[in-house]
């Protein structure tokens, strides 16, 4: 069990994060660039002193322990494999530092390399390895020290899309087999959702939201998270099934009271050229702010009383004859909105 409260003060930035990671659990720190994610990892690894706080691992205080005395494995963003050592010697480096005899360290390293599927690349130098292979050597090197805490800094960000998918699957399996605590840093929600049991969203040096990936995907609490999971997000005051937003009141399926968040996916928004017959309840007149392709759909950015993104088909776009700056009627079904306490 890792229990950490990490405070790092810089002239223009303060990181203040409390974290708990259980043995066998995989936690993802998700956040925009500059949020303090990598700083958190460096502090846990002992590469950066805390200004305040604690790092307790199984009851032991790590705060004043130097990096080389912490049982931590770290996979760096660009792997940092030692260029002058072979893949095998890179992996054997950790065990050697722990006092394992050379032949035994190399045997262990060979075992780890074969576990990540690179047995036949043991003699290669890092610069002759592909990105995906280097990533796996870095993972093997970090695991070979038998860490209690595994730290991964953007482990997949240096890979191209296809390699990434393949390596992500492999990484998921190795993380599942690893019995210590794992903490990974990413700004890619897909990596976070695919790899982690729990997400901790960090913005501007603080935790803004944490929970299971599925829960966060449905209940974003900041604009950043809403954008990541692809939802329109608003804050308002609920009274029964009505939620009063800044300039509009929408009705929702849930019955709530007080401050709430209200979210709906862009695909739940229907667009009309004229005010539709029978007037559905959540209807408003908007202005088209922008139109852009979005996968095989078209994303329409709406301005007006309720700024929102709406996804429609290219055929619907042609039929509606939308133009930027032009008027449009928008509606969202109560059943597809989702409100939850703020």
């Amino acid at each position: 069990m890792i229990d950490a409260h990490i405070v790092v003060r810089r002239p223009a930035f303060t990181l203040d994060i409390a974290l708990e990671v259980a043995e066998g659990e995989v936690v993802a720190l998700l956040g925009p660039n500059g949020a303090g994610k990598s700083t958190t990892l460096r502090a846990l690894a002992g590469l950066l002193p805390l200004s305040e706080g604690h790092i307790r691992v199984g009851g032991e205080e790590w705060r004043h322990r130097p990096a080389d005395e912490r049982p931590v494995g770290m996979v760096f963003q660009d792997y940092l494999l030692f260029p002058h050592l072979t893949a095998l010697d890179n992996v054997a480096f950790g065990p050697r530092c722990q006092g394992v005899r050379r032949s035994e360290a190399r045997r262990l390293a060979a075992e780890w390399l074969s576990r990540v599927g690179l047995a036949e690349h043991a003699g290669r130098r890092p610069r002759t390895l592909s990105g995906g292979q280097a990533q796996r050597v870095a993972l093997a090197r970090a695991l070979a020290v038998r860490p209690r805490l595994l730290l991964l800094d953007e482990p997949l960000s240096a890979l191209d899309v296809d390699t990434r998918r393949e390596i992500r699957a492999g990484l998921r399996r190795h993380l599942a087999e690893f019995d210590g605590a794992s903490l990974l840093v990413t700004h890619d929600p897909l990596d976070a959702m695919a790899l982690a049991d729990r997400l901790v969203v960090v913005e501007d040096g603080r935790v803004v939201q944490e929970g299971a990936p599925a829960h966060i995907a449905r209940h974003p609490r900041t604009d950043y998270v809403a954008r990541l999971v692809g939802l329109n997000l608003y804050r308002g005051v609920a009274e029964g099934h009505d939620v009063k937003l800044e300039r509009l009141t929408l009705s929702v399926a849930e019955s709530l009271g007080g401050e709430v968040f209200l979210a709906f996916p862009p695909s739940a928004v229907a667009l009309f050229r004229r005010r539709p017959e029978g007037s559905p309840r959540n209807l408003w007149e908007a202005t088209v702010g922008g139109i852009e392709p979005y996968g095989d759909q078209v994303r329409v950015h709406l301005e007006g009383p309720l700024p929102a993104a709406a996804d429609i088909t290219p055929a619907a776009l042609a039929e509606l004859g939308l133009a930027e700056g032009g008027p449009v009627w928008a509606a969202v079904k109560a059943a597809e909105t989702h409100a939850y306490p703020a």
Binding site: A67, D68, G73, M74, L80, F82, C97
Partner: protein
């Protein structure tokens, strides 16, 4: 369109080039090529050459053992007065070598600050010995090594050292197994510079170690002396030093400079 280079720059540039090349050309033109073989085989020349190479190599080894750690401390440890220490390291660089020799005598001479204790306790006296030559050369050449190794250390990616630390490597292990191999090219370049400087060293050597053939008379000293009574021999000796410099330069170009 290619714009014409102004004469105000081209002319001095050509003069500078001639100024650098002419003396060397003169050396080649006036060399006694016909008797070169026999002269080269003279025992005095071979003695001086051997002594020079041995002393320069030993001085380089001394510089490596002392200079690399000093460069590491300057590059990796922050301590009060670091800038002052760095300035002190470069003093032998700007000090006239003769003054360096005098300073060495005052420090390591038989009555010197440290030298008297060396003599009293260990019976060691450095001035006017072959070891003295090595000391004088190392004194003058050390800054070259420290500066180029410190530069390499500063340019090296510190994150490799972080990676080593997370793998459980102490700072000493990290230095030995990660930093040193990573900056090997910088150390090589520094060692070559250091060796070349030691090989050509004159002022500090003659002041501190004297000029005894076979013991402390290195090539540069032999050249200077030969010029008085046998100018032809001076030219031959100079040619040998020139050849050595060219070989060193070629080695540097191939491996360590672009």
């Amino acid at each position: 369109m290619n714009r014409r280079a102004p004469w105000a720059l081209v002319l001095p540039a050509l003069v500078a080039l001639a100024f650098l090349v002419l003396p060397v050309a003169g050396l080649l033109v006036r060399a006694p090529w016909s008797t070169l073989g026999t002269r080269l085989a003279q025992p005095e020349i071979l003695d001086a050459l051997r002594l020079s190479v041995v002393c320069a190599t030993l001085a380089t080894v001394v510089c490596l053992f002392l200079g690399v750690p000093l460069a590491w401390v300057l590059a990796r440890v922050s301590f009060p007065g670091r800038r002052l220490v760095r300035a002190l390291v470069t003093v032998p660089l700007v000090l006239p070598p003769v003054v360096g020799g005098v300073a060495l005598l005052l420090a390591l001479g038989r009555n010197g600050l440290v030298g008297q204790w060396l003599y009293r306790w260990f019976g060691v006296s450095l001035p006017f010995t072959t070891a003295g030559v090595v000391v004088a050369e190392a004194f003058v050449a050390l800054p070259f090594l420290v500066i180029s190794v410190e530069g390499a250390l500063r340019a090296a990616d510190l994150r490799y050292e972080d990676a080593a630390a997370t793998l459980g490597a102490s700072r000493w292990t990290t230095f030995r197994r990660v930093t040193l191999p990573l900056i090997a090219p910088g150390i090589g370049a520094g060692a070559v510079l250091c060796w070349a400087r030691a090989l050509g060293e004159f002022g500090a050597t003659i002041t501190f170690a004297g000029n005894f053939p076979g013991r402390t008379q290195t090539m540069p000293l032999a050249v200077y002396l030969a010029l008085e009574n046998d100018p032809q021999a001076a030219i031959v000796l100079s040619l040998v030093l020139l050849a050595v410099s060219v070989v060193v330069l070629a080695g540097l170009r191939g491996r360590w400079t672009s």
